[in-house]
């Protein structure tokens, strides 16, 4: 332990009092933070990473307490401080940025007031000066037009801008340490790139220490110098990112790295099992039950964090195992789907407008808000047995498009043909038994008042009344990898991954031909996410299903799709075979999207294309190309000419740069060379 550390955490153990007795959430965690250092704390949910940060900040819930260990900030012990002393330290010396920018700002006060309050609390300045400073800070976090934003209310800002405001509040008193708890998890990938960029710049600029808590290995690899990997309440590996992520010594770190879906050409190598609950941690190494290298030695005592190579790992077998491989060596099996199969779903110029004028008076009076064009003329087709990945940021209309295919939302215009017939001519019952939906939020997609058995039973009976319901339900549960006995459980008794499997089972109950999966993995942890993707893939192959897979996550799309459609502001901007699209993206938006995905391999020094600004208001899209406001390659004609989706057979792109076939080829070559 060095003496000049900014923050020093030593043997931190945090306990929570629950109905089932005392539960140790974090055990014996130690780390130091030097000025200017960027430390990433990474782990799955339940690993104790957020509890660690909250323990340091003294922000534990009522039932939690630091049982032992010390937290020293500049020589002062934080764990012994009273609440009012801590209040002085928090904000002025150590500041925190929370995950959800939507709920972290008070909706009834202007952004400026909230920044000014923080400054006045910690600094002895006049209100006018504080306001002056607030505007400076908003400018510093690169909010356009800070003079007017300072008087805006939080609901008037986008998610990305709110996160910037939160950062502005956090840095308003020049803290020495910034603790960021999943600061970009709720944001889109292009906005995430902007925010991460800003954070790194601010921290470097001011010589602050940064503790970044995240589940995303890519974010750590791109923004941090050092990393502590947490598993089940303990740090299992610690060291420089360039070491830990390249030559991991703990099997968990390696497993996590290997199971993360990557843009690169490798298949994820899944980590089996789940993180044990804090109350049910085994004796010995917490990871032993999931570890392929585990021996009996692992089950006797907690392995301490010991030097391994140039960093530290908590594993008794470090010496025998040596450095582990972080990148799976399984080559991606490229899609064997032949393009010649017949088309199952075909949409032609589909549109959906949501009108904000809901009262009769609004509709009769002229003026008012124009409708939101959620889906604005989309032609998309899905072939039999194909997986089409639909990717886009929030507000791009991808979910609406998925819902239109199932008629969960009525179309405003255009035609969808299913199996050669217009959707309006397909009988309701046939449609419902041939297309099914897998929902995003496992907590909302299952009725909390019904057991898993009941949920599936209704679906089975709906499809086929004569069948032996109970044996069918058990069969379905087995097919999605659940214990048939799960049918007696209520959804709240299941984990997120299990709930999502029930959602898949429910969709399969009617024996559909097409599954529309709307971000089915976005609420899950990396290893669980991988397991679910594998399940979907297996089921798809076994049953010969077609799938529309909607996601904002390009690595997931890369993993599961045969073909990818990229959506931006209600329109498709590029459709191409997966490999083609990822190797040589043609639309500037696709290119930017790809470059914005953080790669967990620190050796990859990707050239980031950081898009300026945010997705425009869908009520008032730009005149020409929808992307013109953010496009790094925008030309004058893009301002007024609206590019159509044109292309050769399978691959098409909606960009003026590519309207001419030769130019498209020119652009493609240098990209391909770079690979």
């Amino acid at each position: 332990m060095s003496d000049h550390s900014l923050l020093s955490v030593e043997g931190l153990t945090t306990e929570f009092a629950t109905q089932h007795g005392r539960i140790t959430a974090v055990k014996d965690v130690s780390f130091d933070l030097e000025p200017g250092e960027r430390l990433g704390i990474v782990g799955e949910s339940g690993s104790g990473k957020s509890v660690t940060a909250r323990s340091v900040m003294g922000l534990l819930d009522e039932n939690g307490r630091v049982a032992s260990g010390s937290v020293t900030l500049g020589g002062r012990e934080l764990t012994d401080m009273s609440e009012s002393e801590l209040g002085d330290v928090r904000g002025s010396e150590i500041a925190m940025i929370f995950q959800d920018p939507m709920s972290s700002l008070t909706p009834v006060l202007t952004v400026g007031t909230q920044i000014v309050e923080t400054i006045l609390e910690h600094r002895d300045v006049s209100e006018t000066d504080a306001r002056e400073r607030a505007i400076e800070l908003l400018d510093r976090v690169r909010i356009p037009d800070p003079e007017s934003v300072v008087d805006a209310y939080p609901h008037e800002l986008s998610g990305g801008q709110r996160q910037r405001v939160l950062i502005a509040i956090a840095i308003s008193t020049d803290p020495d340490i910034l603790v960021a708890d999943e600061p970009t998890t709720a944001l889109d990938v292009t906005i995430q790139a902007q925010i991460l960029d800003l954070l790194v710049e601010l921290v470097d600029d001011r010589g602050m220490g940064l503790i970044q808590i995240t589940h995303d290995l890519g974010v750590v690899a791109e923004t941090c110098d050092n990393v502590a990997v947490m598993y089940a309440g303990r740090i299992v590996e610690r060291g420089p990112v360039s070491e830990v992520f390249v030559t991991p010594r703990h099997p968990y770190t390696a497993g996590l790295l290997r199971s993360t879906p990557r843009i690169a050409d490798v298949e994820p190598d899944l980590l089996a099992g789940t993180v044990p609950d804090p109350g049910e941690r085994p004796t010995g190494c917490n990871f032993a039950s999931r570890c392929s290298h585990a021996t009996d030695d692992c089950r006797t005592g907690d392995p301490p964090l010991e030097r391994a190579g140039n960093h530290e790992a908590a594993c008794v077998r470090t010496a025998q195992l040596g450095p582990l491989e972080p990148v799976p060596n399984v080559q991606r099996h490229e899609s064997d789907h032949s393009a010649s199969t017949s088309t199952l779903i075909d949409s032609n110029d589909v549109r959906k407008e949501f009108s904000s004028a809901d009262s009769l008076l609004d509709r009769l009076l002229p003026g008012g808000d124009p409708p939101v064009k959620a889906v604005d003329g989309v032609d998309v087709s899905l072939a039999e047995g194909e997986t089409l990945g639909l990717v886009g940021e929030s507000g791009s209309g991808k979910t609406t498009l998925g819902r239109l295919l199932l008629e969960l939302t009525d179309r405003s215009d255009g035609e969808i043909r299913f199996d050669g017939r217009p959707l309006t001519e397909v009988p309701e019952d046939e449609l419902r038994s041939r297309i099914q939906f897998v929902f995003q939020d496992p907590n909302s997609s299952l009725n909390p008042r019904q057991t898993v058995g009941t949920i599936l039973q209704y679906a089975v009976q709906k499809h086929d009344e004569g069948v032996d319901v109970d044996s069918r339900v058990r069969e379905l549960l087995r097919e999605v990898g659940l214990d048939p006995e799960t049918r007696h459980d209520y959804p709240h008794q299941l984990s997120g991954g299990q709930k999502q499997r029930v959602g898949v089972a429910r969709a399969l109950a009617v024996d559909p031909d097409v599954i529309v999966a709307d971000e089915p993995t976005s609420a899950l942890d990396v290893s669980v996410q991988g397991q679910l993707l594998e399940l979907l893939e297996e089921i798809k192959l076994e049953r010969g299903l077609s799938m529309l897979f909607i996601s904002h996550d390009l690595s997931v799309i890369r993993h599961i799709s045969d073909r990818v459609a990229v959506m931006y502001l209600g329109r498709l901007v590029e459709v191409a075979a997966t490999e083609e699209l990822f190797e040589s993206p043609r639309h500037p938006y696709t290119e930017a999207l790809l470059s914005a995905v953080p790669d967990p391999d620190p050796r990859v020094d990707s050239e980031r294309i950081i898009l300026e600004g945010e997705i425009p208001d869908p009520k008032r899209p730009p005149d020409g190309c929808n992307f013109v406001t953010r496009c790094p390659e925008a030309m004058p004609e893009c301002e007024h000419d609206d590019p159509k989706l044109v292309g050769d057979g399978e691959d098409s792109v909606a960009c003026l740069l590519h309207n001419d076939a030769t130019r498209a080829d020119d652009r493609r070559r240098p990209k391909a060379d770079r690979e």
Binding site: F16, T18, Q19, I23, A25, V51, D61, N63, G64, P278, R403, L406, L408, E428, D429, L431, R432, S433, I435, Q436, F437, F439, Q440, D441, S444, S445, L446, N447, P448, R449, Q450, T451, G453, T454, Q457, Y458, A459, K462, D468, V469, D470, S471, E485, R487, H488, D489, Y490, H492, Q493, G503, R506, A509, V510
Partner: protein
């Protein structure tokens, strides 16, 4: 009663699941019922932790037991039971206007009837009116509200505007009008109060159904092509039950007061059947000379209403998901 439907549907399910697996039926019963029992137990724990609610439950239980006793006694035994242990509530056999004494703890009324015996018999009408009227109102109101909340559009506009018009009248005035139109009888009081309380349930059911309808499992049900009645009554309604149950227990208290008011005005149950409200009315002329005639039935109203209110508050806390989910961290 509506409040029972979640447990009903759950037991239907477990039974039909059991049918399929005769070999493992025993363990099936164990597991499915244990999951349900666990949930009930958690609500019960939350409820019991609130000592006021437990007190309310004791009061309500006592009143219900007394009410059931007097109902059974009158209907089946012609008051033989109460005569065997005490006095008849109907026969004016004693000295009128006698104050509380060991022989007549609540005293006697103007005609020389025992006030305690009549108070015991009065519980019958109060409980009968409160429970039946609230069940009627809850059934109609919840169904209307849930349908309006789920369907939206024209259906919602029509249902909710009618409900708003009904809410425009003060509840008691509307009840008096209805009873006056229908005629003075116990059944008509129940019908009138049942109608008067429909809007209360409809409003709550609609707003809850509105938020439940946006849950993904309702979309899932639509995607699976379930019929609208299935979606409304199996998917949406069971998830609206908690606030309705709380409202029902609070309205029981109001119904008891309303019945007492109607009886006080002479609009409710006709003599000689004793009801608390009517007894208060009878004694109102003797408040200075013989206050016990009004005081004891009035006290019974007060205690019962308080009991139902405490139970309602306790239920609200115990059923609140934010309170009942076990916090792990």
């Amino acid at each position: 009663m509506n409040g029972e439907s979640p447990s009903n549907s759950a037991s239907d399910t477990s039974e039909s699941v059991i049918d399929g697996t005769s070999d493992t039926s025993e363990s099936v019963i164990d597991r499915s019922s244990s999951a349900r029992v666990r949930q009930l137990r958690r609500t019960w724990r939350g409820f019991r932790a609130n000592s006021l609610a437990s007190a309310g439950l004791v009061v309500v239980s006592v009143v219900v037991v007394v009410g059931v006793f007097s109902y059974v006694d009158e209907a089946l035994f012609d008051s033989a039971l109460i005569k065997a242990v005490y006095y008849s509530p109907f026969e004016p056999r004693f000295v009128p206007l006698e104050g509380p004494s060991p022989a007549h703890p609540f005293g006697t009324d103007t005609l020389g009837r025992d006030v305690l015996a009549r108070t015991i018999y009065g519980a019958k009408v109060s409980i009968q009116v409160a429970v039946t009227a609230v069940v009627v109102a809850a059934t109609i109101g919840s169904a209307l509200g849930v349908v309006a909340g789920y369907a939206g559009g024209v259906v919602e506009t029509i249902v909710m505007r009618v409900v708003d018009v009904m809410l425009g009248f003060p509840a008691l005035v509307l009840a008096i009008g209805l009873v006056a139109a229908l005629g003075f009888s116990l059944t008509n009081v129940i019908i009138a109060l049942g109608i008067v309380y429909v809007p209360q349930f409809a409003r709550i059911a609609r707003s809850t159904a509105l938020s439940v309808s946006s849950e993904e499992y309702v979309d899932a049900a639509r995607a699976l092509g379930y019929s609208t009645p299935h979606i409304v009554f199996r998917e949406v309604l069971p998830n609206c039950i908690s606030p309705l149950l709380v409202q029902a227990s609070l309205l029981m208290a109001f119904a008891i007061i309303a019945e007492a008011s109607l009886s006080f005005l002479g609009l409710g149950v006709q003599p000689p059947t004793p009801t608390w409200g009517q007894m208060v009315s009878d004694g109102s002329g003797y408040l200075t000379s013989a206050p016990w005639i009004s005081l004891f039935p009035g006290g019974a109203i007060f205690v019962t209403v308080l009991g139902f209110n405490l139970v309602g508050d306790g239920l609200r806390d115990a059923l609140d998901p934010r309170e009942s989910t076990e916090r792990r961290f």
